[in-house]
Each structure stands twice: as C-alpha cells, then as structure tokens.
Subunit: 410 residues, 2 copies
C-alpha cells in the first residue's frame, strides 16, 4: 500500500483549545497505517504558499505532542488569508502542485467560518480537477457562531473564563459599601454567545451581573440608565456585561459614539470600546463611581480555566475528522450533535456537515433566549452550563507556570 501524507493548518484567531484539535488530528494521524508523515503548515495557507511547513515527528516527537493539549494560541501560527472566489485563479493549481509534491492525501483546516470558506473552495477545486485529496474542516471559535453545530470547540473554555472572571470582578466590586457600576466588555461583534455566558457567574438569583447586553437586540441608552438605577435596589455594586458589538436601533455601534472623543497628540482618532463609553456615561449621568474592564485577548487565549469538556471535545473533533477523511469524506466540517443521556445528562457526538452550508454564515443567540433586552433566560443557562464543566489540569513547570509547547525555530 502506497502511503500518503497528512497536512494540517490553523487559521483565524487563537482559542484555548485550537491546539487540542490539532492534537486530535496529529495523534489520530499517527496511528493509521495508510498515513505516512503528518505535516503542519506554518501560518496557514498563506505560510504554506511560502513553503513553511514542519513535520510533527521532528517538531513534537512522541510524548511531546501531549503539550499541545495545554497550550493556548495557535501552535502552527495563523493567517487571515481568503482564497479567491474564482476557482480559475492560478493560486489553486499552485497549491495543488505543492500538495502533490508533498504527496498529501488528506488536508485538515482548523478555524472559524472564514477557514470553512477555504475548505469549501479547496474541496470544490479538488472535485473540479479530479484530485482525490480529502479536505475536512475542524471547527474552532470562541464566538460559537458556526451554523449546523450545537456549539464550537473553544467556546466552552472562553465561556468558563468569562463566567469565572466576571464572578471575580463582581466579588472585587462588592468590597466597598458605596454605589458603584462596573462595565465588563466581552468579545463578540455580532453574536452574543460569550457575553451571554457571563450569566453563569451568578451564585444565586439576583446576583451580579445584574444586566447583560447582547448585540442581537438594539441597545437603548436611556433604558440602560434606568435599569442601572433600578439595579441599585438589589445591590449597591452593579456589574453590567456588554458585548463589544452592542449597537443602537439605527445600527450604529455604541463604541462608535466615542469617535467624537477627539484626537491624540499625534492627530489620530482615539477610539475606546463601548465599555469605556458606558463607564463615562454612567459617571456623568448617574453621578456614581464607575469603571470598565475590557476582558481583551485573555478571554480567547487563557488556559488557566480550561473547560475539560471543551478540551476533550476539541480532541474528539480532531480525531473524528481524520477518521472521516480516511473513510473518503471530503468538503465536510466536523459538527457537534447534543444527545440527551437516559438520565437527562449532557452527551455530545460528532457528526459531519456540508461545509458549503456553513462557511460565511453566522449563528446568533435566539431572540427568545434574551429577556427584556438585558438578560438571558434559563434556556441559555441549560444550554451553556454543560460546556464549562470539568477541570483540565495544567502541568506546572519548574518556573512555576503552566507548561506550554512552542515552535523552537521559525
């Protein structure tokens, strides 16, 4: 039997478990007889076009591969490169020539909906030229906005980070007996899944965060201020979680209202996020102590509160994709199907979906899971809670910090 080689790449923004999916693909690739080398493309399709690849047997031999499961970011590096719409473009034969030179039989791309667009184009091009290369998409995004899948790898850990961090911020905010408002700005431009996950921070009914605003509904500034005032009845320290993408009824992002703020000393427009904008609004209109916290990149790259469920599922998705490709599947994305156990518990199975129905689509939070434009319902909690369960123990190094693996030579 002539062996073929496996190629895997990562694309788009990092998550806490994108390397767990990589681990799944590589470790599964290693155990199949028909697979020769397992290659990784460095910096995605863009890097591959410049011949930056590595062989996992050299880069992470044997047990060293395990480190991927605890390493956030994108081990292989990433890119933001969109393949041309026209399959007549010369980049396609160029790519497939490279695939052929490396004797690639299977290609896996780990990413969000832009990356699924790449999977769609490459699998369609392969079909059009009669190539037998199998192309499979491995889902990844903290935004949880891919369609035709119950959820995405990366969301559970990001949701756990958001919930745990908002709980800590609420505890921090509660130490003084003086009216205060803390605005927490959370990632998610169009889909509010991650912001909604802040509800999981509540320890009891009526606990902070008292207000939660998603980009799925229009943000009304005056109604917001009234709700903050009303929230003081419950707690003198009010925590509000907002998605970075909140916008008013006209569709203008709230953060854009800060454009008026002025220019910096170099004549450049100074842009702040909606959290900073609302902090100033609350301070000036309500006359109370206000501060804002932008969770920033840590919500996508922190491994300190990895969800064991998310990590295991990411590995599972990686493995499942390889098994499917070996069975001849192509042009598919690995999806997650939620099954109910006889005891009512949570269970997830992998499936396959046509990648053409997924790329360039966006799944937002159902409107009936949003309450009064400023909270989420029990249905959301029931959906999200299982995804943040369990602890993935991070091995500590001699330096006292969690161990990570990284590419030694670029």
């Amino acid at each position: 039997m002539e062996k073929k080689n496996l190629l895997v790449g990562q694309s788009g923004g990092p998550t806490a478990v994108i390397n767990s999916s990589l681990y799944g693909v590589v470790s599964e690739g290693r155990i199949h007889e028909e697979i020769g080398h397992v290659y990784g493309m460095v910096n995605g399709i863009e890097g591959f076009l410049n011949d930056t690849i590595l062989d996992f047997d050299e880069a992470l031999p044997g047990e060293e591969l395990e480190g991927l499961k605890y390493t956030p970011g994108a081990y292989l590096g990433s890119c933001r490169y969109k393949l041309p719409e026209s399959l007549e473009d010369p980049v396609y034969p160029q790519l497939f020539r490279k695939f052929q030179e490396l004797n690639i039989g299977w290609f896996f791309y780990i990413g969000g909906n832009d990356s699924m667009d790449t999977v769609s184009k490459l699998s369609r091009y392969a079909a059009s030229v009669g190539s037998d290369i199998r192309v499979i998409g491995e889902p990844k995004t903290i935004d949880n906005d891919l369609v035709h899948t119950d959820h995405t790898p990366g969301f559970g850990s990001a949701a756990k980070y958001v919930a745990a961090t908002v709980r800590e911020i609420a505890i921090d905010a509660s130490v003084y007996e003086k009216k205060s408002v803390t605005i927490v700005e959370i990632m998610g431009r169009h889909a509010g899944w991650l912001t909604a996950a802040s509800v999981l921070a509540r320890k009891y009914t009526g606990d902070n965060p008292l207000l939660i605003y998603l980009p799925e509904t229009a943000f009304d500034t005056e109604a917001f201020l009234q709700k903050v005032e009303a929230a003081f009845e419950k707690n003198c320290n009010v925590v509000v979680c907002v998605s970075e993408g909140i916008h008013d009824a006209k569709g203008t992002f709230i953060c854009e209202y800060d454009n008026s703020v002025g220019t910096d000393t170099f004549g450049h427009k100074m842009l702040a996020g909606c959290g900073k904008y609302l902090e100033n609004l609350v301070r000036s209109r309500l006359g109370v102590k206000a501060r804002s916290v932008e969770l920033n990149v840590s919500q996508r790259c922190s491994a300190s509160l990895l969800s064991a469920t998310d990590q295991q599922e990411a590995v599972q998705a990686g493995r499942y994709g390889v098994q499917a490709a070996l069975k001849g599947e192509t042009g598919k994305m690995v999806s997650f199907v939620r099954c109910e156990d006889p005891d009512g518990g949570y269970r997830m199975e992998c499936g396959l979906e046509d990648v053409n129905a997924i790329c360039n689509m966006e799944k937002t939070v159902p409107l009936d899971w949003i309450r009064d434009d400023s909270d989420v319902t029990e249905e959301f909690i029931k959906y999200a809670r299982p995804l943040i369960q369990g602890r993935a123990e991070l091995p500590l190094g001699e330096d006292g910090l969690p161990v990570v693996v990284y590419r030694k030579f670029k």
Copy 2:
C-alpha cells in the same frame, strides 16, 4: 479563666489571598482556650463604627471556613478610612467603648500600609489609656511595597497571574507573521514589583516580554521607540510591559499626556491609561500594528492561578499574628523573613516588626535590579520565582466554576 473575644477586619484593595490570611487568623483563634468568640468587622473600621460585625461561628461554621482559602476579594468587605492623626479625637474612645462592649482582647487588621497606620494609632491609643487590647497588623498587598518584610502576602499570586497572563498574551500575539507591538499595562503606581514579575513570562532568553518599564526610573519616549524598533530584530511580535505609574524625567505620569485627548460627548475629560497612550504612539510613529491590554482588576482578584506558596504563607501569617498577640505582643506587623535552606532552596519564616516603622512607607524595586531602564536583572528573578511556585487546587462547584464563600446577609 475569663475568656476574651477576638476581632478581625480587612481594609484596602482586595487580593487573591487576603481571605487566606483571614482564614489563618480565624482558624488559629478557634483552637485557643482563652479565646471566646471570633468576630469579624464588616467593611473595616468604618463598618465597625456602624456596628456591622459578624460571628464566624455563625457565618462560616466548622469546615465552611475552608472556603476562605479559595475565595478572592475581601470576605469581610473593606473600607478606605483613615483614623484621625490626633489621638485626642473622640473616635478613639468611641472605638474602645465598642471593643469593651464586645469584650475584645485581640484585634487584627489585614491590609497594606494605610491599614498599618490604623494598627499604629490603635495600639498607641491603647497604650495611652492603659487598655490591654493587643493590636496586630497582618500584611496584604499585591504591590509588595511594605518595608521591613521580604515580601507581602498577595504579591506571589498577583505575580503569578501577571507572568502567566503575559505569557499567554505573547503566545496570542505571535500567531501572525506581521510586525506588531502589544503594550501590557500592569498595576503599581509607585512600585514596579508587579510589572517586574512579567519577566517570569519568558520561556527562554530573548523571549517576550522584550521590554519592561517600571516607575522607579524615568520613562524616555524617544528611547522607548528606538528600543521597540531594535526589538523587531529579535521578534516581529514585540510585547512591552509597563507599570501604570511610568513617568517622564519631569515626574509627569505618561498617562497624563492623554489628557489632551479631548472630552467625551458629555463634556467630561476622557482619560486613558499609559498603555493606550503608548499603543497610539507606536502606531502613529512606527506605523505598525499596535494594541494594548490593561490587566485591570483581575490581577488582584483572580484566584485562577493562585500561588500555593503565597496562599500557605498568607495562612501562616494569619496564624502567627494570633500566636504573637496571645504572647502579649501589640503594635506589631507580621513580617516575612527569607531563610536559605542548607540545599539552597527557598524557605520563609514569620517575624514581627514595629508597625510604626512600616506604616506610610513604601518599598520600591532596588535600582540595581533594573537593567537599562527597560528590563530587570537575574537578581529580581531569583527573588521572585520562589514566590509563584505551586498550585492551589480550587474546588469546582456543580456550576463548573471555582467555589467561593460569601456573606449571605449584609
């Protein structure tokens, strides 16, 4: 033997282990025959003046007390209340009347140098009126700026959070092969200990963060830009860690240069931190991709990367203070003395220092531990590394998040 009661309070900003010190005081208090009730003052001295106290046997009976070791923030609440300079002020007899009503024999105040000022005044007043109440200070601050102690409880966990988070941010920044600068703004207005701890994020020589700026030396904007340019030789993704308190040679805080930015839509001055200022500076002057991350309150309230060393030492300090007070000590702060083990390892012992020599003083990073105004030396690393060692396992609740304890009724 007539029993007396123990009273403990917390003051100033929260840390990840201020409740571990509280645990140490309360658990030690429970095992001594001569101590009756163990009371906590809610919201520090200020709350106590309004009679807000709790009895730990009711609030956290038996095993429930253990939860304090894993709960960040300040369980008892806090205050920022400075006692009058004059011991003739009527607030002193008022306080001591309350102490007497509650039959208090020992009082412990957990906090930073402002709180040590309270300990100093109360112990001096006690002496002046012949009261036998013993007053002991328990150190606490992420800033590590108390004198006459090797380090402070709270610093190790904050340092571990900073080091681990900066490492993750550096990993996140490294995924694209395109020049970028990430500015990380870290707490510490006058003392750069916590910013210095970002050096512990380096995985190898020449790794990020490539530049580290403390408030102990003057910040030179032009030299900074030149060093960023030079850093691109080592890594196309440059991470710079700056203390919030960096200032120029004239003593003007760098963040103050942002005052020129303008006003928000309500006519209020829009203030950004020095990280945002430097982000804009880099983008406009060097023409490269730039972003800034303010670590914000999580660096003082996150328990997700608790240092086991810090946690154990905080408990130890709490216990030691109670033992000292029972031996008759008063007007002292528990200090940490670093001892070298025969094998060269790290070992810490508790000591006592005169609180009058500690309050209102500030310990900064020694200048000879700062290299070229933009890095720290091996001496600092040798000092700080032992303090971030070990993992404190956070118990997870059914909700998938770390368990915390909190006051049910205010």
